[in-house]
Amino acid sequence: MKMKTIKTCVTALISALLVFSPVAYADKWSDQFPHIKTTGDIPGECSYESMSKKDYSGKTLKINTHAVPVMGEPTALHAEQFAKLTGAKVDVTHTPAGDLYAKAMVPFQAGQAPYDIVFGFSNFINDWRRYLEPVPKKYVEMKQMQDVTPSHIGVASWDGVMYQFPVDGDRHYLKYRKDVIDNPEYQKKYKADTGKELRVPQTWKEYGEMAAYFNDWDWDGDGEKEYGSAEVMKKDDLMYAAFYSRSAAYSKNPKTPGGFFFDLETMTPLINNPGFVEALTDWVAATKYVPPGGINFGLGDEIGSFGGGQTLFSFSWDDAFVAAMQPDSPINNKVGAAQLPGAMKVWNRKSNSWDEGFNQAPFFVWGWAVGVAKKSKEKEMAFDYLCFFANEANHQADIGIGRFGVNPFRNDDFKAEVWTQIGWDKDIAQSYVDTLAKMEESKNRVFPLRVPGTFEFNAALATAAAKALAGQLSPQAALDEAAKQWNDILNRVGKDNVRKAYSVGVAMEDNKL
């Protein structure tokens, strides 16, 4: 009996050691690097353990990244960790978003490589790819890369070659105040006052009506006024992406494949068709239900405004949602996620008329992207750094911090447990991952414009939309002006050059890739 007890204890002890050994292994690193305290190190080719076996002493890695905190903070943090693990010296330069493109392009075009690693946006890929080193096969075939969703592999690649190392996944979706929309008292009041249901808005018109109703009064009882919506409306601060999000439902018609931004056959810009004009008209109306000064909100303002509990709705990247869900947020566990609103009509450019009926189209907007300069002398170390940046432990820690700007792009991210373990309510976590997963499944998606001169096209559109928002031009006149400029850019760049590049995006939108 005694012997049996001893045997049982020994077996239990051995089992326990076997079961918990990864945790014990992880703890060794999480003690040293508290950033990964939730998961510890997770074994893999670029884990903390693996990186600690590399020796880059005496070598220097130079990185140009975004300003702190969005993407700049995780870059610097992982640089510091990488330096500790490998002995490398890592110099990180922080650059404002608007200058990231030029800061890399100037030396690229001069044949220099002042930075081994350059951060930018995924839609730079066509302009940058000739100066970037393709991601080596060994990294493409790694386990951590196999988990990246096909959409994001597509965003990071060009003609099947991966140029950008996936570190972030981006899409626009709707964020709303669950404590208002699901509140029976407000539902009753809204019905009584408007005759309509208070629910997660299904269309942009509903979004506008609800936002206008819940604008400029204290609806959460905190003694401060709240507003309808926080949106990125500042001209040079990614507002074109917000406009595309609003336009997708009105203009991405599944019956008319062959282009959202241009008609691929003729390369006629489509941005001034009635679908886009309707979206811009809605957006001009939105200037009445954003917080004071909301017309100048950039991404940081939008994150702060919705994340700080100032508005009922918001739509853009994940950051505002994650910020709202952080433990120190005043609206922690009071927010919900849903797909972007749709529309009850969509423009049919073939029949030149509206197709009646509900239409919705998710926008896989560009995300943060990063590549290694072809002229870098430290390519191996650079790819190791990027691989370490995106390793499973770092990634899981990063996606839970709103200000980091690191958003889900791996299949594992779409599991509710990932989010409940950092304190999210189960139903919110589930609605969040369901929203993201549904976008991946959609067959009516819009991908960002990735053609030569992307920056020019988007800047022309943003300027025109900004003029409409400021009341300088009507929506139709503004978009006509943008379309004229798009034609001028096409003539300068060459229609065939743009068509060739655009056909890749169209193939993704038409589910052919």
Partner: protein
């Protein structure tokens, strides 16, 4: 006597002049005749295509230029009037004269970009203290940065705050260097302070005033940091100035060739217009 060796001493200065002034201008002219952009990064030759585009198909540049003219003329006039008033105030024997002189100079000593960030925070429509204070007085929030007209005046306020001390400094130096005799003669004649100012101080200050105004006009015509930080040229394009527009074309959209065309054209326009302004001011302010 052979003076040729003296030219050797000119070479260092000449070399620096060519390096920092002549070469960049010639390079800009050459670049302006190319189509250098993100997709064709080369110094190809496209003739005057960029100039034709500028003069026939770019109303945004001209709008930004006229907006700049309005902003720079308005700010410089305000800076001159306020700067002159402050200089006159501390020119006289008043208490704490030195203290005021230092206080008035502080805005000029601060870093423009950082101060503009602070001003932007002040004027933030929903979170800034200015609207908060006005709200306590029952005034509705003012759209300091989001109304196309008010945003221009916000830029003017910040520019005037930042650069009036420079005008003050130049004018005070001018006042302190004026001869005493004309003032003594005016006092003997029993001239009132107003007549003293109109007939003695102002005319004597005219040469210095012209210099100060021209210097400030040159600086104001390059206004970029304030607009960049405060409004980013918005709302819409309501506060976009020429230099900010050139920056957008060159370093945001990477149309280097076209941005060079804009820069060179802008340089020529500024040289011509500032020469004319200087002549007009001389005629108006200096009486023979």
């Amino acid at each position: 006597m052979n003076f040729k060796h003296k030219f050797v001493f000119l070479f260092p200065g000449l070399f620096v002049l060519i390096g920092i002034l002549i070469f960049p201008i010639i390079f800009t002219i050459r670049l302006s005749l190319s189509g250098w952009n993100s997709y064709t990064p080369e110094m190809n030759f496209i003739g005057i295509t960029n100039y034709i585009r500028l003069f026939t198909d770019d109303p945004r540049f001209w709008e930004s230029f006229f907006r700049l003219s309005f902003l720079s003329v308005t700010t410089v006039i305000l800076q001159y009037v306020i700067g002159f008033a402050l200089a006159l105030m501390v020119w006289r024997e008043i208490k704490f004269k030195r203290f005021f002189r230092v206080i008035f100079l502080i805005p000029m000593m601060t870093t423009p970009v950082i101060m503009t960030v602070i001003w932007r925070t002040f004027f933030h429509e929903s979170l800034g203290p200015v609207n908060d204070l006005l709200g306590n007085l029952g005034v509705k929030p003012i759209l300091w940065l989001s109304d196309p007209v008010i945003a221009k005046f916000t830029v003017i306020i910040v520019e005037v705050w930042q650069w009036t001390p420079f005008m003050f400094l130049l004018l005070l130096a001018g006042l302190l260097s004026l001869p005493k005799e004309p003032f003594l003669a005016a006092a003997i004649d029993g001239a009132s302070p107003f007549r003293k100012f109109v007939y003695v101080t102002f005319p004597l200050m005219a040469p210095i005033s012209i210099g100060a105004i021209i210097i400030r006009l040159i600086e104001a015509s390059k206004i970029m940091d304030t607009v960049f930080v405060l409004t980013s040229g918005g709302p819409g394009t309501a506060t976009e100035t020429s230099s900010f527009y050139i920056y957008i074309k060159g370093l945001r959209e990477f149309q280097m060739g076209y941005a060079a065309t804009l820069s060179f054209t802008y340089l020529v326009i500024m040289i011509i217009s500032l020469t004319i302004i200087a002549k007009v001011l001389t005629k108006l302010m200096i009486k023979e």
